[in-house]
Each structure stands twice: as C-alpha cells, then as structure tokens.
C-alpha cells in the first residue's frame, strides 16, 4: 500500500492495529492488523459494511479509543501509549469530529455549541465564521430542537472545524439524513476540506459517496481490503444515491 505520489507527508500513520473487544467469555476482533496513512489535505472515504471495523478504526485514529496492539502516530507524536491527558489534548488541539447523531448539546444555541469548541482551542475562527462556512449564519441563536436534522449536522460540522483542526473525522455524517440534506452536508465537508486544507476522513457504508474522495479505503472483516485512488473526484452535488 504505497502512498500516492502527489501526497508528500503522512499526517497520521497506523501500523499493525488490532482491536479485540472482550465481551464476557467471547472475544470479538474488530480490527486485525490495519496499516494506514492519512496525508495532509486529502479527503478519504472509509467504505465498509456494518461491522467491518471502520468506526473502531476512526475512534482509534481520533484518540477516543486505544488499540489492543499496534502503533498510531500523529506527525511526530506517538499516540499508542498516550494517557488520558495526552489523548484529551490531542483531540482538543488537532481533531474535529462529526457524528452520525450530531451530538449537539440541547441546552446550547447554535452559536454556543460552536463556542464550546472555540472556547478551548488555541487559534480558532469565530463561531460566526465557522457557521458562515456551513451556511448557517442566520440560525445562530436557535436551539437544536428548533433545527432540522441537516442543519443540526451542519452545526456539528461548524463545531468540528471552528478550531481549524488538522484532522476532520466524520462517522456516517449523512447516516441520519435524507438524500438531499445529506448532499448539502457533504458539500459543506468538501468545501471545508478544500478551503481549510484539513485532512478529512469520512466513514460511510454508502458506496456512491466514495466518488467525492481522493482515496477510497475498503474495509471488511477488520482489514483493509483495497485502497483506490480517485483521480476524477466529483463534487457532492454531482453524486446521487
């Protein structure tokens, strides 16, 4: 699995990742030996069926979970044996997350949800700026219960990118959305990848979405089965599923 020539530097490297969940007396292997590099500024789609290990991989890469064995490096930092404090700082400073179920704080308005991230970041953009990037400049003072699903997801994206993360990790960002709304959300992600240059990884089980990626990583059974380069990537508006 050699890196494509146009991407020079690996931001995140994983080697020999194994993740085994002990569920009582049964051990379930979620990842069995994954090697992976993510390069600066690229947009990667991790494609796989349910149970293929893609969420587990994303959680380990994002510092939410630790591998049973194997190494993860973020630039010059070794995350493999990092303690809770280091993992927290890694997430705080470098990683933006977007979740399938948005995970907005219901008691905070749109602007305040984004401010949650900007309050603790070193060099954030303003919440207003972040929300403008996802076209929500006019919904700043609404609470989550007053927003549609697509709008909530875009708030979540604004919250993830407001800190200018190096890595933007998205777990099924369109999973809870209808087709049209999903496209709006994907457009926002593509635009941010383009304009901010954040390395972006999107998990999906929805194959057509892969056509917007620079690279597509196919997972199944806890292994990477193939990595496809996509020289003719499409804009999300050109994709349909």
């Amino acid at each position: 699995m050699s890196p494509p020539g146009q991407h020079a530097r690996a931001v995140l490297s994983a080697r020999g990742l194994v993740k085994i969940y002990e569920m009582g007396e049964v051990a379930v292997t979620a990842l069995s030996g994954v090697d992976l590099d993510l390069y600066e500024g690229e947009l990667v789609v991790l494609l796989g069926a349910s149970g293929s290990g893609k969420s587990t991989l994303l959680n380990i890469l994002g510092g939410l979970d630790a591998a049973t064995s194997g190494d993860v490096r973020y630039r010059e930092h070794d995350l493999t044996l990092a303690d809770d404090e280091h993992m927290t700082r890694y997430r705080r400073e470098h990683v933006g997350f977007v979740f399938q179920f948005y995970n907005l704080i219901p008691s905070l308005t749109t602007r305040e949800n984004v401010a949650l991230a900007t309050d603790i970041a070193d060099d954030p953009m303003s919440p207003e700026e972040a929300l403008a990037l996802v076209d929500l400049g006019d919904r700043m003072d609404h609470f989550p219960s007053e927003l549609s699903g697509g709008e909530q997801q875009r708030v979540a994206i604004a919250r993830a990118i407001a800190k200018r993360p190096d890595l933007l990790l998205c777990d099924e960002p369109t999973g809870a959305l209808d087709y049209l709304t999903g496209r709006v959300v994907l457009s926002a992600l593509a635009r941010i990848n383009r304009e901010l240059g954040a390395t972006t990884a999107i998990i999906t089980h929805n194959a057509p979405i892969a056509r917007m990626a620079d690279r597509v990583i196919h997972l199944s059974g806890g292994r990477i089965r193939a990595i496809d380069e996509n020289p003719d990537k499409l804009a999300p508006t050109e994709i349909s599923w």
Binding site: E93, F101, L108, L116
Partner: protein
C-alpha cells in the same frame, strides 16, 4: 421467578446507590416517627400505670386552716368516692452547696404511714417510725441531686424555725413525677437541686404549724362518671370560709400538667418531624423514578407490545419503589426502636416513674410503615400514571429532544457574564423549575434540621449567659440559718479575701389576685445591686423599682395583673400575715415566675427589721480556700454556695442530653442533604451523560466537564442554604412554641456559629456525595455515547 420479577431485581441492582440513599431518608422519617411515638406511648403507659397503682387523686384543694370535722362533709359531696385531708406546708432548706436555699413542701402522712390517695413508692430506706417525730422521707429527685441517703440529716426551716430532720427513706410520689412546685421560682432544668418535697408524720408535723385537729389540704378521688366541675364547685363552696384558694383538677395539678405538656410536645414533634423526611423521600422517589421510566421507555413499549396490561406494568414500577421503601422501613423501625429507648432514657432523670419500661407497640411500627409506604407511593404516582398511559408506538420512538430556551436571567443580559458551561448550568436549572424548587426545598430542610440541633446548644449558652453571667455575678453565696441583721454583713466585708458583699432577702410568698394565685419567692434587692441583677431578654438590666413589686411578665399574665394593679401577698413564714402591694414594674426575664422588690421596701412591707437571708460575695480567686475556711467558722452560716459549682451541675445535667439530640439531628440533616445531592448528581449524570461525553470528545478535560455537572449541583445547594437557615429558625421557633410559657420563655436566638455549622455540614455532605458521583465521570463511555441516542 417471573421475567418481570427478574427485571425488577436487576433494575434494583443497577441503582443500589440511589436506592440506598432514598431508603436512608425513608428510614430517617420512620425512625423519627417511631422514636417519638414509642417514647410517647411508653411515657403515657408509665404515667397511667403509675397514677392507677398509686391512686393519684382527681381533685386537689388547699385551704388555710380547716377543722378536721369538715372532712366528713367533703366526703359526702355527691360524686366523691374518697376524700383525704392532710397538711402541706412550704419549707425552706438551707442546704450546703446552694446559693439560695432550696424551697419545698412538707407533706403529712397519716398515722398508718400509707395514704389512701397519692401513695408513695419507697425506693430506699424504710417507712417513717411514728414514734420518732424528726424523721422524714425525701423525694428521690432532690435526694439524688444532693446525694442524700437514709441516715442523712437535713436542715429544714419549718414555719421560721430551723430544724434538723433525719432522712430515713427516699420515695417517689405521683404528685411529683416532675419535681415542680407550681411556683418555687426555679422551674427549669435544675429543679431537682432547688425543689424538695419531704414527707413527715402528721402528728409530728401538726404542732410545728399550729394545725393540730385541722387540715390545710384535701385530695379527692371521684366516682366513675362524676362531673369534676360540679364536685369542685361544691368543694370550693365548702372550703371558702377556711381560706380555700380554689381547687384544681388533675389536669392542672402542677406535676401532671408538666408531664401532660411534655407528652403533647412529643406528640406534636412526632407528627412534624416525620412529615419533613417523608416529604423529601416522596420527592426523591419521584425524581429517580421519572428518570428510570424515561430510560425504560422502549422497554415499557416492548412490554405493552408483548401484551402486559397497564395494571401489571404500573404495579411493576410501584414494586420497585415499594422495595426501596420497605428497606427504609425495616431500617427505620430498628433505628427508631433504638433511638426511642435512648429518648426514654433521657426522660428518666426528669420524669420520676417507679418503672419506665420501653415498649414499642406494633401498631406504632405499622402506622410508621404505612405512612412511609404511602409517601413513597405518592412520589411514584404521577410517574406511574404517565407510564400506564404511554401508547406503545410512541414509546418505541426516542423521546423528542428536550426543548430549551433562554432563561429570564439571560433575557435580562446576565448570561453574558457567564461562560458557555455556566449557561448550560443555568438553562438546566430553569428548564425544570419545579424540580429545582423541590430539590432546594429538600436540601433547605436538611440545613434546617442541622440548625435545630445547634439551636439547643445556643439556647443553653443563652441560659448560662443570662442567668449565670449577667444576672448572678457573685462568686460565693452565703445562706444563713435564719435571717440575720443587715449589720452583720460588716463582719463578712471585713473578712480577708472578700472583695465585695451584697445582701439578699428571700421571702416565700403566695401572691393572689381574685381567684388566681401563685406561690413564689419574693426577692429583696439592695438599691444599685451589682452581684445579683434582674436581667431581661435581650441582655438588659431591669432596675428594681424603689417602691412596689416588680413581677416577671409571665407571672403577671398568670395572675391577670398589670402595672398599677394591687396584689394580695401572703407571707409564708413568720406571722404569715396578708399584705397588699402594688405592681409598679414588669420584667421580661426568660425564666421563672418571680417577684422582686427593693430591699428597704420589702422590709417595710413585711414589717421587719433590716435583715438578710443570703449574702452574696465577690472573692479574691487567690484566696478561695481561705475564704471557705473562714466562712465555715461563722455560727449563723447554713451553707456556702459557689456559683461555679452550680454552673457545673447545670452543665452536667443538660449537656449530655443536648449533645445526643444535636448529634442525631445533625446526622438526620446530613442524610437528607446527602440523599438529595447524590440522587440529583446521579440523575444529572444519566441525563447529561451523552452531552458530557460529547464535550470530552471535543477535547474538554475531566475537570472541565465536572465543572458543568458539579456546577449544577452546587447551585442547588448554595441556593438552598439561606432558606435552610430560615427553616432552621422556624423549626426552632416551633419547638419553643410547644414549650409552655409557664415553664420558661426561650428566645429563639441562633448564633452565627450555628448557622455556619448548619451550612458547612450540609455543604460537606453535599460535596461528599457529589465526589462519589464525580468518580463516575471517569467511566463515561465516549465511544458509546456517540453511537446512538440512549
């Protein structure tokens, strides 16, 4: 075991901490009920048994002097089953160790030694020997306070003559269950020290009071169904010509009155205290069950889809609550039985019953259990009703996201001052104002209960300060065997080691106004007295008027007198003449039903030379032993009392009772605060777990997210503290309102330290339980929280 029963068991297993804390509050509630009710019932039974077995009289009447022949006419009054005449006379006892002589009663016993009414119980020694006129039996409370044993000799001033009497036995009397004389002047805790009751053969006693062939007191037993009112009216008419002062029924007999008063106090506490705890328990059940039901919506839907009926599902949740409440009941009854026994033990030194056995009636326990279960059910009712009404299809859907809006404070612009986390806390509070209110009210109750515990100490300090620091400022009180000329004080003043001397004249009197009367001590103070002053609440020295009587306002109330009125005054020593005096001032003293006069005015009123009964000394601390020795050598000195010893005695008597009460109340108050904060915290964690995990994912540290969680809890507690202090004050006031004004009037003063203690203890209990929950923040499942809605 049915599947539903298994679910119940597992649900309980998962909420052990919450279940236990709720059970704890239920236990406190039922324990307070069982404690107070069982102590009440035990005292009531002891009282009734005692009154019955000792033939406690139904009607009491005192006269000045009536011929014995009147006895037969009294016995003939319709409705009278039995009439017994006797002699009851006031005496003074200049006992060693007291600053002022003890006052008391000398009561005659018939020749047989066994009165037909108001029989005595011999606790120690033997009965009177009719052939020995100087023998007396002494009431146990006084004997204990002065360590008197059979064989001891006792100085007693009988009709102005000092005699030395021999104690041959120690007894209990149903007329003196509580050793109160109905006006000896010292009606609070150290009664036993200052109030004596002696029993003497009537043949020996009559000549000393010039009452041979006569009686001055009669007690009656009524026939079943007889009207006390009618009998008393006829009796009063019969004895009026002989100086009758109006009969009283058993309910107004002084000891019986105080016992009944104490019992009704217990009874009213037994209602209020449990209500407080069970109210809190109902609130907690409501909050915890609401959360559980919220979490179990899909399960409830599934059960309904499977065909479980509404009643069965409702019962399932009630069983859960019932199990928790039942645990509280078992613990509460056990704790209540233990504390009840202890409470009864605290009464033993004050209530002199021949036997005071603790009994826990099954009906009391059952009533406590029923009330507790009912309060838990009350808390559960609304929630269970929601459950059974929930349509299955709707329950399958996740509940709609909670709706928030900017709070009023934010619209006023306050929120700009708050951080994002601060705003989360604020909105969480304002979104559920009712829950916030009840939570605050509950914690406030906890604070209040702790404050009441501290109040008993403050009250004690006030008594000490008023009586022993502000009012009595002498070091030594010297009592004389009989009043001595005021000039003899010069001898004392000249004595080495004596820095100052002041005279005091104490005359036993009966004050009468119309049909009302009261026996008390009339105290004569020298003008400008420094060593013994009349101190009013709050710390104001009331000057004794140059002329006329100054009564405590409680005594004036009792006699229906006010400034300017005249009062009849019978001097109960010497020539026992009746005088009239004018009330020229009232004092607001905390204790007692006392009368004060200027010394010279008193001499003029009584018609005596300037004499003193007590000398108050201020002495040089460096020469204490020398002063003692020199005083003992003086011939007319009956006793030398040290103020310090009296204080120590008072502290010994009350301190332990107060410490235990305060400890129990503090623990109960903490239990409330702990239970509420812990459950609030667990629920906040459960409701907000997903939010908190999201914040962690966004890079917030554990410390930062605990600020969000604990900030909310801290707000509840901090908001609850000020009203809690007020609740404490109100509860203390309630306690005092239940004390009869004739006993004492305690100002509800609560020190800053007590308030601070109440606040701090509650805050600590709250912090303790919050920290327990904070530990759980480490267990937040970051990955799981992101997967799906709960």
């Amino acid at each position: 075991m049915s599947a539903l029963a298994t679910k119940l068991r597992r649900d309980l297993g998962r909420m052990v901490g919450q279940g236990l804390t709720i059970a704890l509050v239920v236990a406190c509630g039922i324990a307070s009920y069982v404690t107070l009710q069982s102590a009440y019932a035990s005292l009531l039974a002891a009282r009734d048994d005692y009154y019955a077995s000792c033939r406690f009289a139904d009607v009491f009447a005192h006269v000045k002097r009536a011929p014995e022949s009147l006895a037969a006419r009294i016995a003939d009054i319709p409705g009278v089953a039995l009439a017994e005449t006797r002699l009851v006379e006031p005496v003074m006892l200049p006992v060693e160790g007291l600053s002022e002589p003890a006052t008391g009663r000398l009561v005659s016993l018939p020749r047989s030694g066994e009165p037909r009414l108001n029989a005595l119980v011999l606790r120690e020694g033997r009965a009177l020997d009719a052939s020995r006129p100087d023998e007396v039996l002494v009431l146990e409370s006084f004997a204990e306070a002065h360590h008197l044993e059979p064989g001891a000799r006792l100085p007693v001033v009988m009709n102005g003559v000092l005699r030395s009497l021999q104690v041959v036995g120690v007894v209990l009397s149903p007329e003196y269950v509580m050793a109160v004389g109905g006006g000896a002047g010292q009606e609070f805790a150290p009664d036993a020290l200052h109030f004596a009751v002696l029993f003497m053969g009537r043949d020996a006693m009559a000549p000393a009071f010039d009452l041979a062939g006569a009686f001055d007191d009669v007690t009656l037993r009524l026939e079943p169904g007889a009207s006390e009112r009618d009998v008393r009216a006829q009796l009063d008419a019969l004895v009026a010509p002989y100086g009758g002062v109006g009969s009283v029924g058993r309910s107004r007999q002084p000891s019986a009155f105080f016992v009944d008063n104490e019992l009704s106090q217990l009874d009213s506490y037994a209602t209020v205290a449990p209500m407080l705890f069970l109210g809190v328990a109902a609130f907690l059940v409501n909050v915890v069950l609401s959360r559980l039901v919220h979490l179990q919506r899909p399960q409830i839907a599934t059960l309904k889809a499977l065909g479980y009926g509404r009643a069965r599902i409702g019962a399932h949740f009630l069983e859960l609550v019932g199990a928790i409440a039942a645990l509280g009941c078992v613990a509460g009854v056990a704790l209540g039985a233990w504390l009840g026994r202890g409470t009864l033990g605290m009464y033993a030194p004050y209530f002199r019953f021949p036997s005071l056995a603790y009994r826990l009636d099954a009906r009391i326990a059952a009533a406590g259990v029923l009330v507790s279960l009912a309060s838990a059910a009350l808390g559960a009712l609304g929630v269970v009703a929601r459950v059974v009404r929930l349509p299955p299809a709707e329950a399958m859907q996740p509940e709609a996201p909670p709706t928030y809006e900017p709070s009023l404070l934010e619209r006023l612009g306050v929120a700009r001052l708050l951080s994002t986390e601060g705003r989360m806390v604020l909105r969480e509070l304002t979104r559920r104002p009712l829950r916030f209110f009840f939570s605050v009210a509950g914690i406030a109750c906890g604070v209040g209960v702790v404050v009441v515990g501290g109040f008993t100490f403050d009250a004690f300090d006030v008594i000490l300060d008023l009586e022993f620091e502000s009012a009595e400022r002498h070091d030594v009180a010297v009592s004389f065997t009989r009043p001595v000329p005021a000039s003899s004080l010069r001898t004392l003043a000249a004595m080495p080691g004596v820095l100052a001397v002041e005279p005091l004249r104490v005359v036993p009197v009966r004050l009468r106004s119309g049909h009302r009367f009261h026996e008390t001590a009339l105290v004569g103070h020298p003008a400008g007295a420094e060593l013994r002053r009349v101190v009013e609440w709050p710390w104001h020295v009331a000057p004794v008027p140059d002329d006329g009587l100054m009564l405590t306002d409680m005594l004036a109330d009792k006699l229906g007198l006010t400034v300017g009125d005249s009062v009849t005054l019978e001097v109960l020593e010497g020539d026992r003449r009746t005088r009239t005096a004018q009330v020229t001032a009232l004092s607001r003293e905390v204790f007692g039903m006392m009368a004060h006069m200027e010394l010279g005015a008193l001499h003029r009123l009584v018609g005596e030379e300037p004499v003193v009964s007590t000398a108050l000394l201020r002495t040089d601390p460096a020469d204490e032993a020398g002063v003692d020795a020199r005083l003992k050598r003086l011939p007319a000195v009956a006793s030398v009392g040290k103020r310090r010893q009296v204080i120590a005695q008072f502290e010994r008597q009350t301190a332990e009772t107060m410490r235990i009460t305060a400890l129990v109340l503090t623990l109960f108050g903490c239990a409330i605060a702990l239970a509420i904060v812990y459950n609030n915290a667990r629920i906040a964690l459960s409701v907000r777990g997903r939010d908190l995990a999201t914040l962690r994912v966004l890079g917030f540290t554990r410390g930062e997210i605990s600020a969000v969680l604990l900030g909310e809890l801290a707000t509840h507690v901090l908001v609850a503290v000020p009203p809690g202090l007020l609740v404490g004050r109100a509860l203390s006031g309630f306690m005092m309102a239940n004390v009869d004004a004739e006993l004492y009037r305690m100002p509800v003063i609560i020190s800053g330290a007590t308030y601070a203690f109440g606040a701090c203890v509650t805050l600590l209990a709250a912090m303790g339980s919050a920290l327990l929950v904070r530990g759980k923040l480490g267990e937040l499942d970051l990955v799981g929280a992101l997967k799906a809605r709960e």
